[in-house]
């Protein structure tokens, strides 16, 4: 895929005449970082990596229904190596042709793409299609996809060689939507983890998941969102996730949610079973409540509480309060947050506070962002400090409406690296031949 698309780029650039009739969007971000890292016992390292993100969108071919979209990035290191593996790296995030039919919201995408269908979340090299089926006020919609899953850099990433699936949904206008979805990945590994021997055993050489999702709305007052995910390869539930939101008066929103995961079913096909251990004795449940109140268009206050219950580690609770304040007719945005995590026995607890301000009158902007954690105890194997903080100042100037030059400077200290100063320069451009929404 990458080999196919990269040579295409100069071709696209060289023959603009053929593209005159088309919408063209090119966007990108160039980031040059500067970081000094000193870990006691190791040589001091200076890192100056440069990263380039590039997106190209070509729209409105074939009577306006066909378009092409791609996005990717590359990095080269100046000075010392910034990652353990290589001094340069690239990735193609996506590159696909998109046909959108004028009828029935039918759409076909061919190439590398991200897929979100119910509980299906994949990066695919292949084809996907969807359409509404005979519907007006209620009806079915169908989507399907097939291809190869995008591999990671690890040789053994437990991904397969064929990925296919789809989702069938039924909707009643303004009331409900229910969906059933299915994925099959041929050749993907499903592992199980044994704690006593710290080993992972292969139990199936495919990954198959099925699930159900639901939306139910009642007079715009109550909204229920949820889904359940079942691991067919292992005959084990993987996930239940349900949220109910109530909006009793304008501006006030209250929500309650329940999430539950079986590690055996959910983590079975993790790329690294030692990072996400598919241990059959472990499961996680969390219950949370949150409230947000928009006093007016300028002030929003939030509160949230979550109770976590991890079977093998015990229970924890998090409480948070926050506010967002917009001043000077939208030119100044500020925010304040406080969180407290009371962890299960044997884990560290901490306080966290954050504040930011962003002033953007148009031609230039300036912002300040500060975040700090205070741990109850020092962290094992790190320095004895119980405090971590980072303050970032950022400012930029719009050379052209589509070209922004900005820089960030941050200073801080933390138990991992001690004192740290980092900086970066960023050039962001987003050029389109139309005012329409090609690439955002």
């Amino acid at each position: 895929m990458k080999r196919l698309l990269l040579p295409l780029l100069p071709a696209i650039m060289l023959f603009p005449s053929t593209l005159l009739a088309l919408d063209l969007g090119v966007n990108g971000t160039t980031i040059v970082r500067y970081e000094e890292r000193s870990v006691p016992g190791f040589d001091k390292k200076t890192m100056v990596p440069a990263t380039q993100y590039l997106g190209v969108d070509v729209g409105k071919a074939a009577d306006g229904h066909l378009s092409f979209h791609m996005y990717g990035w590359g990095r080269v290191d100046g000075a010392d190596q910034s990652t353990p593996r290589d001094s340069s790296d690239t990735a193609l995030s996506y590159g696909y042709l998109d046909y959108q039919s004028p009828k029935g919201n039918a759409e076909v995408k061919v190439g590398r793409q991200y897929l979100y269908e119910g509980g299906v979340v994949e990066q695919l090299d292949g084809i996907s299609a969807r359409s509404d089926l005979f519907q007006q006020y209620e009806g079915f919609a169908l989507s399907a996809f097939a291809g190869k899953p995008v591999k990671t850099d690890r040789v053994d990433d437990h991904k397969g060689d064929l990925l296919a699936g789809g989702r069938l949904s039924y909707r009643v206008a303004g009331v409900t939507e229910m969906g059933l979805f299915l994925t099959h990945e041929n050749g993907a590994a499903a592992y199980q983890y044994d704690k006593s021997t710290n080993s992972a055993t292969l139990v199936k050489d495919n990954r198959e998941q099925a699930g159900f999702d639901v939306l139910y709305t009642l007079n715009r007052l109550v909204e229920l969102n949820g889904r359940s995910l079942y691991n067919l390869s292992l005959k084990e539930f993987a996930e239940h996730s349900y949220v109910i939101t109530v909006k009793p008066v304008a501006g006030l929103s209250l929500s309650g949610s329940y999430n539950q995961h079986q590690f055996k079913g959910y983590f079975a096909s993790a790329s690294n079973p030692f990072l996400f251990k598919p241990y059959d004795a472990d499961e996680e449940a969390s219950y949370s409540g949150s409230a947000s109140y928009a006093l007016n268009t300028a002030t929003e206050l939030t509160a949230d509480y979550t109770y976590y219950d991890r079977k093998t580690k015990g229970t924890s609770a998090r409480l948070g309060l926050g506010g967002r304040f917009t001043l000077l007719g939208g030119k100044l945005k500020t925010g304040l947050d406080y969180h407290r995590l009371n962890s299960a026995k044997g884990m560290n607890s901490y306080h966290e506070a954050r504040g930011f301000a962003l002033y953007d009158p148009g031609r230039y902007y300036a912002s300040l962002d500060a975040i700090a954690q205070r741990y109850d105890d020092p962290l094992p194997y790190l320095n004895t400090s119980k405090i971590a903080y980072e303050i970032t100042a950022s400012s930029g100037y719009r050379l052209k409406p589509w070209l922004l030059l900005s820089g960030d400077l941050s200073a801080g200290a933390n138990p991992q690296y001690g004192d740290q100063v980092k900086g970066l320069l960023r050039l962001t451009f987003a050029y389109t031949t139309t005012t329409g929404g090609v690439g955002r």
Binding site: G104, R220, G330, G437, R440
Partner: protein, 158 residues
């Protein structure tokens, strides 16, 4: 389910689709592939402009897509139902800033000029994640479970 039964189901579905194509697909006109109107900065409340109406095709009130704090927190549900609606305004690269299968920069570093956005992992997350990862590793799996995690492997080999 075996590969064979899966292939059979897929083949049957495909046959049904192709033969019934003309009569089964909705003849309603599609919604616009890109948002026709420029939006002011910040998160949009769709119902401010699309008052009281339904987003045709999605068969839901526009209010369902209002970008409130709750919507942003639970956007996974709307994304799983109506990814095509998201595509009206968002390029996939917008999502990939937080959801890339392979990327190196933390979202809060790439977008250090946007402290007003809801970006994960602000500040010293390398220390903090030792706690957060243990409290609930399932919340991390969503983005890191099957992604390119070379950076993590320096410490999480076994």
């Amino acid at each position: 389910m075996t590969v064979r039964s899966f292939a059979t189901i897929a083949a049957v579905l495909a046959t049904i689709l192709v033969t019934a194509a003309c009569s089964i697909f909705s003849p309603e006109s599609s919604f616009a592939p890109t948002h026709p109107e420029a939006l002011p900065a910040g998160r949009p409340l769709c119902s401010d402009c699309h008052e009281g109406s339904q987003l045709k095709g999605a068969l839901k009130p526009y209010a369902t897509f209002d970008h409130t704090a709750d919507f942003v927190k639970g956007h996974r549900f709307a994304a799983g139902r109506d990814a095509q609606v998201c595509g009206v305004c968002h390029a996939q690269s917008f999502c990939a800033d937080c959801h890339a299968g392979k990327t190196e920069l933390k979202p809060s570093l790439k977008l250090g000029n946007r402290p007003d956005r809801e970006l994960p992992h602000r500040g010293d997350f390398l220390t903090l994640h030792r706690i957060e990862g243990k409290i609930d590793p399932t919340s991390c799996y969503k983005c890191h479970g099957r992604a390119n995690n070379e950076k993590c492997m320096t410490c999480h080999r076994r």
